[in-house]
């Protein structure tokens, strides 16, 4: 009986207990030691094992093919699928890490501090990677303690997407969807919100909490993570932003109803919220216009408005993934060559060509390719981006491009994962009714403890 119980309880620690438990002990602590440039230079060959990279669409496939064509001696083994922390950590603990991992840039700080990924200065010099081609905000988000731990790939930015049809029917225009004047936005959201008895029929403006809390906090002038990686979650400006956005949700049915309604969205289908008229406006990432493009023939009337700060300046948080090389990678040369090839200007141009071919085949139009490579971005834009035939899409694409140079990322932190969890949890608690100040004070306390521990003081 006891053994049966134990067997089930211990499922999660089984692998680490038996294999990683021993493997992890006595390993190098803190940040992984840097390999010399010689460890990353030379002609790549052998098997390259990759984790966390889906890579199914034409943009990914064109770049994978470019790598395979350039390095014929390398055999690529990609365990397809999203980055899975459990899978990665157990592989690392059992001394069997992949050669390369593709993960969200906001995780890099935590993994770097733990020594799970290697600094890449030697990779940059060994494979002659031109880091000046990458956008500063993307590079900053993968730099910890002055060392680079990831090669940034995409560059995800945000703007307000609008259901033009519903907006016009309500007698409003795209200019009414603005984030400069918060009281006015609140009034607009209230005007657009529709409810029948207990059932929400339409959300006027969705602030996209909890995930977009950093965007609102930044728009209000807060810096959630300081330059040294310390949390600053209960900054009065952040509290004000959380309080305001929770108020927006509460004015539109309250969190429980609001979330239930939102959970039922068919994000990728014909009945997506902007086509179905179930939301009038929300801040959304750039990849979504590529999804929405297919629904123009079905009557979608997209419009867009920039997400701005109180001064009216377009702002955005930057998201995206990066390539990192785990501690103990057996083929760092090929891994480094892959990271370089997947993100350099020539490869991005090849990917853009592939996207254009797909667009042509689908008789559609190009909505832009947003990469962390500034040089590639500008070249792709000038070569391929023409005015979208749909004015709403044109406006949306322009709004996204307008944010590229001003977009910012949260500063990297050795306790990035814990800080991330702390503010998300705080936003969820505030949405459930806890006062914003109290929720963020608690988050700050949790994040400070994690930050202190990550710096060896806890």
């Amino acid at each position: 009986m006891g053994s049966m119980v134990a067997g089930r309880v211990m499922t999660l620690v089984l692998v680490c207990g038996m294999v990683g438990g021993c493997a992890g002990v006595g390993g190098s602590g803190g940040a992984a030691p840097s390999q010399g440039a010689s460890g990353f230079s030379g002609k790549p060959s052998g098997t390259l094992r990759i984790m966390g990279f889906g890579g199914e669409d034409e943009v990914a496939q064109a770049r994978v093919n470019a790598f395979k064509a350039a390095y014929t001696d390398v055999s690529v083994s990609n365990s397809k699928g999203e980055f899975d922390a459990q899978q990665f950590l157990t592989a690392l603990a059992s001394s069997n890490p992949p050669d390369l991992v593709y993960m969200d840039r906001n995780l890099i700080g935590t993994y770097a501090k733990k020594g799970a990924v290697q600094p890449l200065e030697a990779c940059v010099s060994g494979q002659s990677i031109n880091t000046s081609q990458y956008r500063e905000a993307a590079l900053k988000s993968v730099t910890l303690g002055g060392k680079l731990y990831g090669i940034p790939e995409f560059y995800v930015v945000t703007t307000n997407l609008v259901d033009g049809k519903s907006l016009a029917a309500a007698g409003l225009g795209a200019k009414d969807i603005q984030t400069k004047d918060w009281p006015a936005l609140k009034a607009t959201a209230g005007k657009l919100f529709k409810q029948d008895g207990n059932k929400i029929q339409r959300i006027g403006f969705d602030p996209k909490l909890p995930e977009m809390f950093p965007l609102w906090a930044t728009a209000n002038g807060a810096t959630l993570i300081k330059d040294d990686g310390a949390p600053n979650l209960n900054d009065p400006k952040a509290v004000e932003a959380l309080s305001y956005t929770v108020g927006l949700v509460n004015d539109q049915g309250g969190w429980t109803k609001f979330k239930s309604f939102r959970d039922a969205y068919d994000i990728f289908g014909e009945q997506n919220p902007l086509s179905a008229g179930t939301v009038v406006a929300f801040p959304m990432e750039n990849w979504y216009v590529n999804v929405l493009r297919d629904f123009i023939p079905k009557g979608l009337q997209l419009d867009a408005a920039p997400f701005t700060d109180h001064e009216g300046k377009p702002i955005s948080m930057v998201g995206g993934s990066a390539w990192a090389i785990p501690k103990g990678a057996k083929n760092p040369v090929a891994a480094c060559a892959w990271a370089k090839t997947m993100t350099d200007t020539a490869t991005w141009m090849t990917a853009a060509e592939a996207r254009m071919a797909k667009v042509k085949k689908d008789k559609s139009f190009f909505t832009g390719l947003f990469t962390a490579n500034k040089v590639a971005d500008e070249r792709i834009r000038s070569t391929y981006l023409t005015d979208a035939p749909d004015p709403g899409f044109k406006q949306a694409i322009e709004s996204y491009y307008a944010t590229l140079d001003t977009a910012t990322a949260l500063n990297p932190s050795p306790a990035g994962a814990e800080i991330d969890a702390a503010w998300k949890s705080a936003a969820a608690r505030a949405l459930a009714g806890q006062p914003a100040q109290q929720a963020l004070d608690q988050a700050q306390k949790e994040a400070e403890a994690a930050f202190s521990k990550a710096n060896g003081n806890g």
Binding site: S3, S260, D263, E418
Partner: protein, 307 residues
């Protein structure tokens, strides 16, 4: 004397054969259960983080466990969930098993139908129930609306998160249904006939014959349901903590195993997670011992005396 020696040899040979037959299980137990348990016990006294140095930290993980308010929250949520699911799961499974005894030849078909959900991945079931239980547009509330009931926001209202988890868990009671069905079919028919002759009604027959005669099966399933409930992970994670949920989950849905997982694989606190696993193990052990002590007073063991 010679016969005794020969008997002894035979016993030893039989014992050797017996050990050989159970050797695969024993090896599996030692390598995949006992070994990891011992390793995790040791890890619970260290700051093991899967990567980097590991140092012994004494009882620090256990002290932090007591001080961490989320441990208490997750444990309390787990107890509430278990208190909802165990009785509900038992009653529903028994009711369905009793219905199955009435369907005659079609019993085999329905047995398969009721068992099928056990074979479906918990993640898929969790995703499906998220849609069904959606408070605004879900089918469950739609149906309730037909009879004038305004259903709650099952998956977003903090007060309804644990009840909805318990409801979703009913999806997998097929195993218990099969056990109850076997137990019900084993109840001697003559007991019911005698009771009928004495004028006992259906309720009296159920309370005085059925329940005592299947008490062994009930006892077994209550214990296994309790253990499963205390270790609930899949559905809670899929419904409230998966990547699609974008961290919108309320603390009301944080069950113990999800928090253990977060500490181990999200925050790299594997030593702390191991301590959490051992505390849960001890809690389950205590609950099981109490259940066995109390249960033995009511269970009828065929071929032996009621203890």
């Amino acid at each position: 004397m010679a016969r005794r020696v020969a008997g002894g040899r035979l016993q030893r040979r039989e014992a050797r054969s017996a050990y050989l037959f159970i050797a695969p299980w024993l090896i599996g137990f030692l390598v995949f259960t006992a070994g990891p348990m011992i390793a995790s016990l040791w890890l619970s006294f260290t700051d093991y983080s899967l990567v980097g140095d590991t140092k012994p930290v004494g009882l620090v993980n256990y002290e932090q466990l007591v001080q961490d308010p989320k441990v208490a929250t997750s444990l309390s949520n787990t107890f509430v969930y278990a208190a909802l699911f165990v009785p509900l799961g038992t009653v529903v499974a028994l009711a369905l098993a009793m219905l199955l005894t009435k369907v005659g030849r079609a019993s085999g078909f329905f047995r398969s139908v009721f068992y099928l959900p056990v074979m479906t991945p918990a993640v898929a079931a969790g995703a499906m129930f998220l849609l069904l239980l959606n408070g605004q547009r879900g089918l469950v509330n739609e149906v309730l609306g037909w009879v004038g009931i305004t259903g709650p926001d099952w998956t977003t209202d903090p007060a309804w998160l644990k009840p909805s988890l318990a409801l979703v868990s009913l999806w997998t009671v097929g195993g218990s249904i099969i056990i109850y069905l076997a137990a019900l079919n084993n109840v001697p028919k003559q007991l019911y006939e005698a009771a009928l002759l004495d004028g006992a009604g259906p309720v009296r027959r159920f309370v005085s014959i059925t329940l005592p005669m299947i008490s062994g099966a009930l006892f077994f399933t209550v214990i296994t349901h309790t253990i499963a409930a205390m270790q609930m992970f899949d559905q809670a994670y899929t419904m409230f903590y998966g990547p699609q949920q974008k961290a919108t989950a309320s603390d009301e849905s944080l069950v113990y195993m999800v928090y253990l997982f977060q500490n181990g694989f999200q925050f790299f606190k594997m030593g702390f997670a191991s301590a959490m696993a051992w505390v849960l193990f001890l809690i389950i052990l205590v609950i099981t011992v109490i259940q066995v002590r109390v249960g033995n007073r009511f269970v009828y063991y065929e071929g032996g005396s009621t203890r």
